[in-house]
């Protein structure tokens, strides 16, 4: 038998080769094959195949154009039909596209928000290697995580561990003069009040490799007495010049001006630390021996690890080493604890190296920084997806409901020879067209709403036009939404049997009505949950603002920066009291609102220091008028008295402190914090001084000096006049210092900005959701009226009242909303209960909230549906019935 050339290769060749070449080429190939075959059959086969592969090139491949042409025409036809059906039913199309666009716009905004939250701190050059050191303390299963470490901790890390390339710390504590200050440039007279002041290590500057506008990153903070400012501050004090080497005077200390070592560009909004004045730590010691003591922990500490270091293993190594080498000797030296106790205590603690990119979203750490909340991100993400689903449901509902209109088309296509696959392709094309249009509109809507959304979320998001990922992502969104919304209708519509459809036998769209009902119920359940949540958050905010706090926050003016008055502070107080509008004044930096001074102490009953565990609490330095000014209430004993000199050693405790110390009759008892003993002269009623999320903690008030803030209780409602009068007194005493003030109630409300923000965001999204759901309901009701037009007319002719027609048409929809309400109630209750559990002091979830929400949902649904129903009932029967 004659040998045959490789069969598959030949088959392939015949498939792709131009027909006019085929005979010649095949002949030549075969001839060569036979000639070679005699020498080596295998080689001949291989060469034959190889030659064929080499023919696979333009010029030899036959034209496949004819088949391309056909399917392209098909798609063109699909698009044309889609466009026509879009135009034919304008109202439904607008609702379909509009609903999808609204849903997508909400999704876009939320996605931008989430991306922004996740992007924090990824802009540093070496961000994968930057870690913050976190101390974790396990107090009987109660984990607390803190970032404060002793001053020598950071240098020790770098010195003892070669894996650590750089270590650095900052100190932003008001106790050491960071935070806020009066600043002027050398040679000026007027001070300005500035915030964002911090003590900063040169090495920390290098760890973050902050971009420098002027000066050198490696030396900017090297010298003692240097300061680095941000660009924004440089523009303010030295517009248009390089301020390096110039002097700034902080808090009027002319004798120690700060030399500007450089200017960094402003901290990005997506940075977890936000400062404006970085004062060098070089050569600074806040008290005798402070830089070498292991007793005082005041410094958040960062490390830059060498590439390839295992952070987890290193943290463990550090824990052991640092405790053995530094902590243990230091604590033994104080003589308060035995070595065994110390080891036992340290056994409950360990170190953690936290990647810098994790800091922002980890709100579990006590670090006095602004944090995002991972739970918010999940919550928002869920809301976004739900809104999108609602929008897709509209699309599905309307497509299947209007199916009768397309049924004939489908039937005819099938008769003419269309496969089911073709028809599915056609309807998917249609839904892609819709989702493309929606996407375009959604981007426009998102651009329009972005400023408003930024206001809501307290962010400064811009649309990422320049990012190359944007277009592919939008494309994927169009595809996904197209498939999500179009798949079910495509399969449903393409399943019609031509013979039934063309006979007119189709029960017009009623087949899937249970499916539609389910989807409507889903939409309204989501909407009602959002409405209920909005109400409950609003209630909680109301509760927070109107709660009995134990002090009176209204009509209290806070004059800040009063430290500059120095010895004149008493004159200031006296002159203020002369004003008719002023009732009381008090000097104290310790106020029952966030971001005022705090401290930590342990307290014991006198003589029980050794026996008991101390009660953690604060001791606030106040003056004699504090309790009147704040409107606090003494429940036992008496207030401080100027006449009694011994009151300087006295203390007023709050009820919690008295209870925790186990004092039955507190007045007259003596308490100690370890180094001073104080006499209790009174008990003040518990007042809230931290967030309502927490329980009231033990606290006591003592006479002391803390002169930065003067609180002024006014009796007048004319705040404007009062302010002017107070400012006049201020200007008389210190003409060159800016007069700054806030109001106690505003500062209090600001503590709950996150709740207010959440309330606003929920309101917006609830509106979004209900709007989209109503669009769908509106279209469905319009469709139903259209369907039953003849029936209604006949009913009217036979004597049905308007009323009964209205009931007939709306009843069904209302039933659906009621069902949604029944499902939504427990769901919303559970979710909001979880949220409220975050607050120790919270409002109760009343039945009224649910009733109100349900009523609103039903009312909105009724309004939506009734427009169409009333229109249907008002139509003259003859109009509908004359053409049959």
């Amino acid at each position: 038998m004659k040998p045959q050339p490789p069969k598959h290769a030949l088959k392939f060749f015949r498939w792709f080769c131009r027909e006019d070449y085929l005979e010649e080429l095949e002949g030549d190939l075969t001839e060569v094959f036979y000639k070679k075959y005699a020498a080596s059959p295998g080689k001949a086969r291989r060469e034959f195949t190889w030659s064929i592969i080499k023919y696979f090139r333009p010029g030899f491949i036959k034209s496949f154009k004819s088949t391309h042409n056909n399917s392209f025409a098909m798609y063109k036809n699909h698009l044309k039909i889609s466009w026509r059906s879009l135009l034919r039913q304008k109202m439904y199309s607008v609702i379909k596209v509009g609903g999808l666009a609204l849903g997508l716009a909400a999704c876009f905004l939320i996605s931008l928000f989430i991306l922004d939250e996740l992007r924090y701190d990824s802009h540093y050059a070496n961000y994968e290697r930057i870690y913050r050191v976190v101390g974790v303390f396990n107090d009987n299963g109660n984990m607390s995580r803190e970032v404060w470490f002793p001053a020598p901790f950071a240098p020790a890390l770098k010195q003892d561990y070669p894996e650590v390339e750089l270590s650095g710390r900052y100190n932003a504590s008001a106790l050491f003069g960071a935070g806020t200050a009066q600043v002027r440039k050398d040679g000026d007279i007027e001070n300005s009040f500035e915030e964002g002041i911090v003590y900063f290590d040169q090495s920390l500057l290098e760890i973050f490799s902050l971009p420098m506008v002027y000066g050198d990153l490696t030396t900017a903070l090297k010298e003692p007495g240097t300061i680095v400012i941000t660009q924004q501050i440089a523009e303010k004090y030295f517009p248009g010049e390089d301020p390096t080497g110039k002097l700034l005077i902080v808090n009027d200390k002319d004798t120690e001006p700060y030399k500007i070592g450089g200017v960094v560009s402003d901290f990005l909004p997506t940075s977890h630390i936000q400062f404006d004045f970085l004062i060098t730590m070089t050569g600074r010691e806040f008290f005798e021996g402070e830089q070498s003591t292991w007793d005082a922990s005041n410094y958040p500490t960062y490390v830059l690890l060498r590439p390839g270091t295992d952070a987890k293993a290193l943290a463990e190594k550090m824990m052991k080493g640092i405790v053995e080498k530094y902590y243990l000797p230091a604590m033994l030296a104080t003589g308060q604890m035995s070595e065994k106790d110390i080891r036992e205590m340290m056994g409950h603690a360990h170190l953690e190296l936290q990647p810098v990119t994790d800091i922002y979203l980890d709100s579990d750490v006590g670090d006095s920084l602004q944090h995002g909340d991972m739970r918010f991100i999940w919550l928002f993400g869920t809301i976004a997806i739900f809104i999108l689903i609602i929008a897709c449901i509209n699309f599905i509902n309307l497509s299947t409901a209007k199916s009768a209109n397309r049924a004939k088309e489908v039937g005819l296509r099938k008769v003419v020879g269309s496969f089911r696959g073709n028809i599915i392709t056609q309807f998917l094309t249609e839904s892609f067209l819709f989702s493309f249009l929606s996407c375009v509109i959604a981007v426009a809507v998102a651009v329009l709403l972005l400023p408003y959304f930024n206001m809501l979320s307290g962010k400064s998001i811009v649309l990422p036009w320049t990012e190359w990922q944007l277009m592919p992502i939008l494309f994927i969104v169009v595809l996904t939404v197209g498939i999500l919304a179009g798949l079910y209708p495509a399969f449903y519509l393409s399943s019609f049997k031509p013979i039934q459809v063309l006979k007119g036998d189709l029960s017009r769209g009623s087949k899937s009505s249970s499916m539609r009902s389910t989807l409507v119920v889903f939409q309204f359940t989501t909407s009602i949950v959002l409405i209920v949540s909005t109400f409950i958050i609003h209630r909680q905010m109301d509760y927070i603002l109107n709660k009995e706090l134990g002090f009176e926050k209204d009509q209290v003016l806070l004059v800040q920066g009063a430290g500059t008055l120095g010895g004149q502070i008493n004159t200031f107080k006296k002159e203020l009291l002369q004003l008719p509008q002023v009732k009381y004044t008090s000097v104290s930096d310790y106020l029952p609102i966030r971001n005022t001074k705090r401290n930590g102490n342990s307290f014991w009953k006198e003589g029980r220091t050794k026996e008991d565990k101390g009660i953690g609490g604060q001791i606030w330095r106040v003056d004699h008028d504090y309790i009147q000014t704040m409107g606090m209430e003494i429940v036992e004993g008496r207030n401080f008295n100027v006449q009694m000199a011994t009151d300087s050693q006295a203390v007023i405790v709050n009820q919690t402190m008295a209870k925790k110390l186990g004092l039955q009759v507190p007045v007259g008892q003596r308490i100690t914090n370890g180094w001073e003993i104080r006499n209790i002269i009174g008990v003040v009623k518990d007042f809230h001084f931290e967030s309502l999320k927490e329980n009231i903690q033990p606290l006591c008030l003592a006479i002391g000096n803390s002169p930065e803030i003067v609180s002024v209780k006014t009796s007048s409602t004319d705040m404007h006049g009062t302010l002017e009068a107070v400012a006049k007194v201020w200007k008389k005493l210190v003409p060159h210092q800016p007069f700054r003030y806030t109001f106690l109630d505003q500062r209090y409300a600001a503590m709950y900005d996150d709740v207010r923000r959440m309330e606003r965001i929920f309101t917006s999204f609830a509106v979004f959701a209900i709007l989209v759901a109503c669009l769908g309901l509106f279209a469905l009701s319009a469709y139903m009226v259209e369907q039953r037009g003849k029936e209604i007319s006949i009913r009217l002719v036979l004597g049905a009242s308007m009323n009964s027609i209205f009931h007939l048409l709306t009843g069904n929809f209302i039933k659906l909303v009621v069902v949604s309400f029944i499902i939504a109630t427990p769901l919303a209750w559970y979710i909001m209960q979880k949220w409220l559990e975050g607050y120790v002091y919270r409002t109760a979830i009343g039945l009224d909230v649910f009733i109100l929400s349900g009523a609103i949902a039903i009312l909105i649904a009724l309004l939506t549906v009734s427009y169409q129903s009333v229109r249907a009932a008002l139509v003259k029967p003859v109009e509908k019935l004359r053409s049959e």
């Binding site: 070449y21 005979e23 010649e24 080429l25 095949e26 002949g27 030549d28 190939l29 075969t30 001839e31 060569v32 036979y34 000639k35 060469e47 190889w50 030659s51 080499k54 023919y55 090139r57 010029g59 030899f60």
Partner: protein, 109 residues
């Protein structure tokens, strides 16, 4: 002769078509070229060159009779056209004239 570009391999194939006269078809061209150049060639390379030159009008082709060794498929014979001949002449004269311009002195030392 600007538009009548001719690649190096194409020129060889064209010369071979001319040399073989009425006996030039794929396999004969391939075998003769392999023999003269003393290297292995792939049949597809010859076909690519032939088809290109046919498009340019340097050669024309016609089918011959059926032969057994090709599995019953006809041969396609190629012959040089008048244009093809002119192209070859032009190439030859161009090379010769350039060759003659080589200064003889350069290689004497």
């Amino acid at each position: 002769m600007k538009d009548h570009s001719l690649g190096e391999f194409e020129e060889l194939v064209l010369l071979m078509v001319a040399a073989l006269h009425h006996d030039a078809y794929g396999v004969s061209i391939l075998e003769n070229l392999e023999q003269h150049l003393r290297k292995k060639l792939n049949i597809s390379a010859v076909h690519v060159a032939l088809k290109r030159m046919e498009d340019k009008g340097f050669v024309k082709s016609k089918f011959g009779g059926i032969t057994e060794e090709r599995g019953g498929r006809r041969k396609k014979f190629y012959v040089l056209t008048a244009l093809g001949k002119r192209v070859l002449d032009y190439q030859y004269s161009l090379r010769t004239s350039l060759y003659n311009q080589i200064p003889k002195i350069a290689f004497h030392s």
